[in-house]
Amino acid sequence: MNYLEVNDLTVTYRTQGGPLPAVRGVDLTVEPGSKLGIAGESGCGKSTVALALLRLLPKSAVLGGRVLLDGEDVLTMKWGRLRAVRWAGASIVFQGAMHALNAVHRIGDQIAEPILLHGGVTRAEAARRAGELLEQVGLPAARAAAYPHELSGGQRQRVMIAMALACEPRLIVADEPTTALDVMIQAQILRLIDRLIGDHGISMVMISHDLSVLADTCDRLAVMYAGRVVEEGPAAEVFAAPRHPYGQALGAAFPRIGDPASRRNPRGLPGDPPDPAALPSGCSFRPRCGVAEERCAHVDPTLWPAGPGRRAACVRVLDGTVEAPAARTAPETAVEETR
């Protein structure tokens, strides 16, 4: 059975200017021990999906669909049960650990906090566990007494990871875990996550704008655009031979790390992501699509099978007219290039 199963998830923000659809029907599945990557530009709804998995969105967000975590629907859980599931069932590694950690508490206390809350252990035991976790992520246990600002960016992200492991969850959601870090540290953190996830047999959902990072780390890959998954399949294949024009553009982007422009606008892709309050008719990618046709204005494509284990939301996929571009370099070497 899948550990995480998301069915037709919708997230709509209530605003003064009317409802704002941020996520418009997303299906995802994560098998035990497997790793799913979600890629997309800023504002495509991928972080919203991450927060929706544990119902962490602000009150103005209205959620629909189902989020089954180990068979239980998170969206209809009672508050008490939800609090018990949070962190113990699934934990999150947030982007920007500087802000995700509380500046006025020692990191040891912050790691021990969920252990105390969910584990029913003594303070001393929780503190010992926190020290162990720090050592697992490559920090001396004595650093537990440090405050977040006394650590470097990479060290803080390690603390975040230690914290995510604290309650031995079966799923970790990593939301842009390496975005704020420089390239060398990024690689270290990715390897660390990879190792720990493997050691503990944890499933993972990793979210990033960087397709190459995801292809390197994950088993399966979902590409999101304007609140929907537009392409999905085995990571290496989606990266090497994307079927959806957006997947192709995103793959071609090779965003330069640390360059905000490349994050917002993959190279070769004109225009901005659509305003969720005023989505174009038909295919929402149409205005930016290089191969858009007349019928794209009328058909709003959903995910169609596009080869074994693959799906894509493009009319050309349905026709079979789409041809995968010549297979590009394998992900591993591609990642080397960006480094």
């Binding site: 927060l51 544990l54 962490l56 609090r83 018990a84 599931v85 949070r86 962190w87 113990a88 934990s91 999150i92 947030f94 920007g96 802000h99 995700a100 950690l101 509380n102 500046a103 006025v104 508490h105 020692r106 040891g108 206390d109 021990a112 906090e113 969920p114 105390l116 809350l117 969910h118 303070r123 001393a124 929780a126 503190a127 010992r128 926190a130 020290g131 001396p140 246990a141 004595a142 650093r143 537990a144 007494a145 440090a146 405050y147 600002h149 006394e150 914290m163």
Partner: protein
């Protein structure tokens, strides 16, 4: 701080020496303290200059100002000038004044004919008692209501809270006190109209109760006028924190909302709030003058008011220096306490 977790990490110190980097050096801390002390000292010197300018130079002839409206002969005025040292040239006066200050000699009251330092010492404790109680209660009330307001921003209780606070803030202190007296003291006869003690009360318990009874209305007045400021500070400080990512982390960990607020949001929001509260302590001096005047509380405020109406310039000058010095001292305390509260500033 409320809700700050006790450090659970004490037991985790398996490798005591490795985590030591990034701690502030002792020398650095000493330099910080020395710097703050120096700044305060400079401020005090500036107060000294201002006081001299205000009370010796600005009035032209201080003796004439003090005796205005009274029948005082030219000889008596000469005598007064000699007594206050005003017959000497200004530079000489200034030197005498500075030397006097160094010996805590602030001159002799024109009205009481005793050293003003004695008068101040006599009246100091009632003021400390009243203002201390008032400030403490106002700060607690303001911080508590401000926290509630921010947490439920836009709710009815937030709007009522903010509205009441703003209204009370707009009300002049002295008038609020007068109305309380009319309603609850001279009207309903629940509380005394003024003073600090019923004459003839004896016994520690009886005296304490009597003083507390006398304190209710003045403290209520002070709190009513002061707490709004604290409420607004805490409210906006907490609202600044509300968007913080670390609060999402806290909720993701499965903490209930009350704990997220108490353990995570409030300690962060308190830091700027506490600083501003200390910086606003100058309000307390002003509040004390008015509240004491209205309730005839035998403290420095009443002394100040009495000195004004004479005007007893040496006493006014001494109290001016005293009130200013108190504020400077409070600011120094804030500067020294803040690093203890905020780990970010500590290093």
């Amino acid at each position: 701080m409320t809700g700050t977790q006790a450090p659970v990490t004490a037991a985790a110190g398996s490798a005591p020496d490795r985590g030591g980097e990034g701690r502030p050096g002792r020398g650095k801390a000493l330099r910080y303290i020395a710097g703050r002390l120096l700044t305060s000292l400079l401020s005090l010197v500036a107060v000294m200059f201002t006081a001299f300018f205000l009370f010796r130079i600005l009035p032209g002839d201080p003796v004439r100002a003090m005796t205005e409206g009274r029948s005082v002969s030219v000889e008596q005025m000469e005598e007064l000038r000699r007594q206050f040292g005003l017959d000497k040239p200004l530079p000489q006066q200034f030197v005498d004044y500075c030397l006097g200050l160094l010996r805590f000699d602030l001159g002799v009251s024109y009205q009481y004919r005793v050293p003003v330092v004695e008068l101040i010492a006599d009246r100091l404790w009632p003021t400390v008692l009243l203002s201390g109680t008032g400030t403490l209660l106002a700060a607690l009330l303001g911080l508590w209501l401000g926290t509630r307001s921010a947490w439920r921003r836009g709710s009815v209780s937030d709007r009522v809270n903010s509205g009441v606070a703003l209204t009370l803030w707009s009300v002049p202190t002295f008038w609020f006190g007068l109305i309380l007296i009319v309603l609850l003291a001279s009207g309903a006869d629940l509380f005394p109209t003024g003073g600090m003690m019923t004459p003839g009360t004896t016994g520690a318990v009886a005296v304490t109760l009597d003083v507390a009874h006398h304190m209710v209305l003045p403290v209520a007045t002070m709190v009513a006028v002061l707490y709004a400021q604290y409420l607004m500070i805490m409210r906006s400080s907490l609202l600044d924190e509300m968007g913080g990512d670390y609060l999402v982390t806290a909720r993701a960990k499965g903490l209930r909302d009350a704990l997220v607020l108490r353990r995570h949001a409030v300690p962060n929001a308190l830091l700027p709030a506490v600083t501003l509260i200390f910086l606003n302590i100058g309000l307390v001096a002003s509040g004390a003058i008015l509240v004491e005047t209205v309730f005839s509380w035998p403290g420095l405020g009443t002394l100040f008011y009495e000195a004004l109406s004479v005007p007893d310039l040496p006493l006014v000058q001494a109290l001016f220096i005293f009130f200013s010095a108190a504020v400077i001292l409070m600011n120094l305390v804030a500067d020294l306490v803040y690093p203890l509260l905020d780990p970010r500033v500590r290093s």
